[in-house]
């Protein structure tokens, strides 16, 4: 059983590593196409936004505290985009909100 698990883990590691390594190693040169360059420029904005909302609402023990965390994250990033501060600020907002729920 244990041996089979190790083999499964190895297979999954090699697969996921290949998925991550292929584009980075194959796309060595700068892409010239303005469309692809623009597409890749927008990728982080779309992907990170899609991942955050509405998932953040169900990440905490109550939708309302999740919403508090989301609003706090947006406001803090608007005022000061520092990753660390925004992140901790969102956590604190959730913690405080849940004291009242």
């Amino acid at each position: 059983m244990s041996g089979k698990i190790w083999i499964s883990l190895l297979i999954m590691f090699l697969t996921i590593y290949s998925v991550r390594a292929l584009p980075l190693t194959l796309l060595k040169k700068e892409i010239k196409s303005p469309f692809i360059r623009s597409f890749l420029y927008y990728v982080p904005y779309v992907s990170l936004s899609v991942m955050t909302f509405p998932a953040i609402l169900s990440a905490t023990s109550d939708v309302r505290s999740g919403l508090a965390g989301f609003v706090a994250a947006v406001i803090f990033s608007w005022i000061d985009g520092n990753l660390f501060k925004v992140s901790i600020g969102a956590c604190l907002a959730v913690y405080v909100a849940e004291l009242f729920l």
Partner: protein, 242 residues
């Protein structure tokens, strides 16, 4: 040399909230790995090797179901396909003057979160920044998994709840500041969130897994934005995050 060290330090600093968030999220991973019959060591090695939440949950349920190699490979590719997009974006962002082997090392730490902080770096990406972020983030992921497998839930619910939003907070710190400067980016961000919310509500669409949803929406929306609002060179170099 010094430059690399500075980037490494910066990476560590921005990797700390990732590590905290990872620590909270990975407990449940350890708990379900244990239930599926993995030892605490196997669960931790899995976390160290894969660094993928949805990918690992899928992996754990496949191991529990006794899946064969082909099934493991296909499911792992499907669940983690979004990393193809992220890795492509990073391939264009990384500095060209660094030795090629860095790309193999960087590939290991292409996670949603480390990708998020790495694309936000002003100008070109120094590989050392990613290594720094991984240095701070990976221990949180592995330790959380280990503790989850050994002792189950140890943190109070309230603390867990709060730490769970750490990663989302970071994502906002990456996308909101540029939205302030550009109405196009603000529109892309708002539309992405609205579309994602619609996908989570509409029957038929809500059955799509979150990783796949992200892939589909990213291809459609980033593609549409690229057609409607092509980016000029100098804009790509704008700084995003302090």
């Amino acid at each position: 040399m010094n430059e690399g060290r500075n980037w490494y330090k910066k990476g560590i600093r921005n990797g700390i909230p990732i590590g905290l968030g990872y620590f909270a999220v990975s407990f449940t991973l350890g708990i379900s790995a244990k239930k599926a019959g993995l030892s605490a060591v196997q669960a931790s090695v899995m976390s160290l090797a894969m660094l993928a939440s949805a990918g690992q949950f899928a992996g754990i349920s496949m191991i529990a179901a006794g899946a064969g190699p082909l099934e493991l490979i296909v499911t792992t590719i499907v669940v983690n396909m979004r990393y193809l997009l992220m890795s492509s974006a990073l391939s264009q962002k990384v500095r060209q003057d660094k030795p090629f082997y860095h790309r193999f090392l960087m590939a290991y730490e292409v996670t949603d979160e480390i990708f998020g902080v790495s694309v936000a770096v002003p100008g070109r990406l120094h590989p050392a920044y990613m290594y720094g972020a991984a240095t701070a983030a990976v221990p949180g992921w592995v330790l959380g998994t280990f503790l989850g497998a050994v002792i189950g839930m140890v943190l109070p619910v309230r603390v867990m709840s709060a730490l769970n939003v750490a990663l989302y907070g970071m994502f906002m710190a990456v996308v909101i500041p540029p939205s302030r400067k550009s109405r196009i980016i603000a529109g892309v961000v708002a539309l992405s969130m609205a579309a994602s919310a619609a996908f989570s509500l509409i029957p038929g669409l809500k059955e799509i897994s979150s990783g796949f949803r992200m892939m589909i929406l990213t291809i459609v929306l980033a593609g549409a934005a690229a057609v409607l609002f092509p980016v000029k060179e100098e804009k790509e170099e704008e700084s995003h995050v302090r």
